[in-house]
Amino acid sequence: VIDPYWALIDLANGILTGTMLGGSYALISIGLALNFGVMRLVNLSHGDWLIVAAYLCVAALSAFPVSPFAAPVVVVPIMFGIGYALQRGLLNRISVQATERKGMSPVFAIMLPLLVTFGLSIVVSQGLLAVFSADAVTIKNDLSFSSISLTDDLSISLLRFGFFVAASVLIGLLAAWMRLTHVGRAIRAAADDPEVAALMGMRTPHVYAVASGLSLASSAIAGFMIGMLRSFQPFDGSPFLLTAFGVVVIGGLGSLGGCLAGGIILGIVQVLAGTYFGAGAQQMGGYLFILLVLAVRPQGLFARKAVS
């Protein structure tokens, strides 16, 4: 016999937890969405950069043992720098324009960025292994078990709620920045038509590099979150890449607001699958849902154009 009260609590809990989980998913996919929306680049090393940021937070905190929330202040600029350099040094050379200049076939122009960023993902994770060893680490904090009680039977994790708010605020800020500032407009222009943007006198390599820096800077906050919520190892990047790609596809390619919506949908689907079909179904449910969206609506559930 099913008690309607508990059935309702299960459902409410699933949706609530799923929404909070979706906030973290949105946070880890902002960087990928920026890359995709502006550069049309699917960065397969995205997940590994999240782990790099998480390790940098741990390293910064072991050097300066202050409050864990001070870590992003140091790590975000570092990651912005890495992103800028990476785009100037490597990713600009494999863009569609660069492959066209080199006279490569269109098929190879599609493959090259995927192959190179896939190789980059191996390099980054192996580099992490060489520097930090394979031991699982985490960012120590005393908030891990704090929660907010909504009713007697419903509560949400304080950290998860915090990161949900952080994701929403970050997405709002980025979207506003893209609309209101000169550099933001330049990024949108370069995203819409790189050739015309270059003809108008924009330094597209620089604009792309700023976008890539922003992408890794948001990944820094996401990496900080990963470190706060769980323990991680050098090779933990690829599941995050798959999740982030799923979120970006569900939300409509490259749209920042879509990240939040896609994250929440994926989070709710996963948690409900876990609630009703057992813990193992959570992961499988997520994979199947992403594959389903890929197959049926590859333009995303809320199709939109370019970056918002």
């Binding site: 098929v107 599609i110 493959m111 190789g119 980059l120 390099v123 060489a130 798959l242 057992g278 199947l288």
Partner: protein
């Protein structure tokens, strides 16, 4: 039909990277000599020696490279999910050998068959276009069969091969879902990530399946000797290389590269795109499964994390990228480079995979044709050129060529 693809393509746009192909003439005496040397190698270096093991690893990675090169280099389908076939093939062999109590060699063919069957499932629905009705029929039949199976095991619980209600439903749902998924419709990054996701999903299913040892995996009885593995791997490699060579020089192979270079143009020129893609995908999975069967006979233990690891994709990508995508000799050369760097240098200095990763990025940036691409490029300008028929140079420019020549001899020419 094929000659039409030459029209309007500049020299640079030919082939996957630009004029790519093997124009180098490989003398048959060299091939025979090399094969002979490899056949007698065990008597020279010793049947139990590490050198023989290294050679066998080279053969296996060359086969895996061939398989991936077929779908990525020749067909233009960039997959990061070959580990799905490695895992499915390896586990099928281990399951048959263990529960069927047969020898590992008897169970070996199932590794190729299971991987091919799984690939066929992914290729369904076979027609990428206008497939909705087929999907509905297919899913209905699959779900009815599933319901029949559930009914059967409610009367005869012993007939349940899954031995757990949750795992049974999970795996059957996954199979129905993958059968209904039009994977071949996806392009570029979507295809790449979808194949990767499929491998992860299958891995998740195997991780919870007690029959296949759950997370702990299975053990294969190690009755095989290194010498047997060596000769079987060599024979398989020789067979696969020959098949691919003949295939890529036939109408089918030309159709394949035509699809890679412009799928819509190939379709409108009368190439059965869906059929050719399916054929190459299933064949690639079959030889990947066979190679995986041999690999796990050698390492004895198969676990879901080792069999479905994304590092397989990384290794295979390096093998092909280093050797040269879309060339037949590429995977052979790439496998030698891979094993030398990863197994030999990596064992001495560590960081083998880090070196491989950096090297593959550098290669993609500066030598996208790989080692064999560079060699064949050099030979175009060197004295080797005289081995090519005179018509070849006209063809390779790609200018209004094909009317009289309907079967270009070099792969890069279409």
């Amino acid at each position: 039909v094929i000659s039409g693809f030459n029209d309007g393509t500049s020299k640079e746009k030919n082939g996957i990277i630009g004029g790519l192909g093997e124009r180098r003439y490989v003398p048959p005496a060299l091939i025979v000599g090399l094969l002979f040397m490899l056949c007698v190698a065990p008597t020279v270096v010793g049947a139990q020696s590490y050198a023989l093991h290294i050679l066998m690893s080279i053969f296996l990675f060359a086969i895996l490279g061939h398989a991936w090169n077929l779908i990525a280099g020749f067909a233009g389908m960039l997959s990061f999910g070959q580990q799905a076939f490695i895992g499915v093939g390896g586990f099928a062999q281990a399951l048959l050998a263990y529960y069927g109590s047969v020898s590992v060699w008897t169970a070996w063919p199932i590794s190729g068959l299971a991987a091919a069957a799984f690939a066929l499932l992914l290729c369904l629905p076979t027609k990428a276009r206008g497939s909705r009705r087929r999907v509905v029929y297919g899913v209905t039949v699959a779900v009815l069969a599933w319901i029949g199976y559930e009914a059967l095991i409610s009367f005869f619980p012993d007939a349940d091969v899954f031995q757990s209600t949750y795992v049974r439903r999970e795996i059957l749902l996954l199979l129905v879902f993958l059968g209904a998924l039009p994977l071949m419709k996806l392009r570029g990054a979507y295809f790449a990530i979808a194949t990767w996701l499929i491998a992860e999903a299958v891995s998740t299913a195997f991780n919870g399946w007690d029959v296949s040892g759950a997370g702990g995996g299975m053990q294969l009885r190690s009755e095989v000797t290194q010498l047997q593995l060596y000769y079987v791997a060599l024979a398989l490699l020789a067979a696969v290389t020959t098949v691919i060579w003949v295939w890529m020089h036939s109408y089918q192979g030309l159709a394949l590269t035509a699809i890679r270079d412009d799928e819509d143009a190939a379709q409108s020129s009368g190439v059965d795109v869906d059929r050719v893609k399916m054929l190459v995908f299933v064949f690639s999975a079959a030889i990947t499964g066979l190679a995986s069967g041999l690999y796990f006979m050698d390492v004895v233990i198969i676990t879901p994390p080792s069999a479905f690891s994304i590092s397989w994709a990384a290794d295979i990508v390096f093998v092909v990228v280093a050797g040269g995508m879309g060339t037949i000799t590429g995977p052979l050369v790439g496998a030698v480079l891979f094993v030398v760097i990863e197994r030999l240098l990596g064992a001495v200095a560590g960081q083998g995979l880090l070196v491989l990763g950096i090297l593959s990025i550098v290669l993609m940036l500066f030598l996208p044709r790989g080692v064999m691409g560079v060699i064949s490029g050099l030979s175009n300008h060197g004295p080797r050129r005289r081995f090519l028929p005179a018509k070849q140079s006209v063809l390779s420019v790609g200018a209004s060529s094909g009317i009289e020549e309907t079967r270009p001899r070099s792969l890069g020419d279409i």
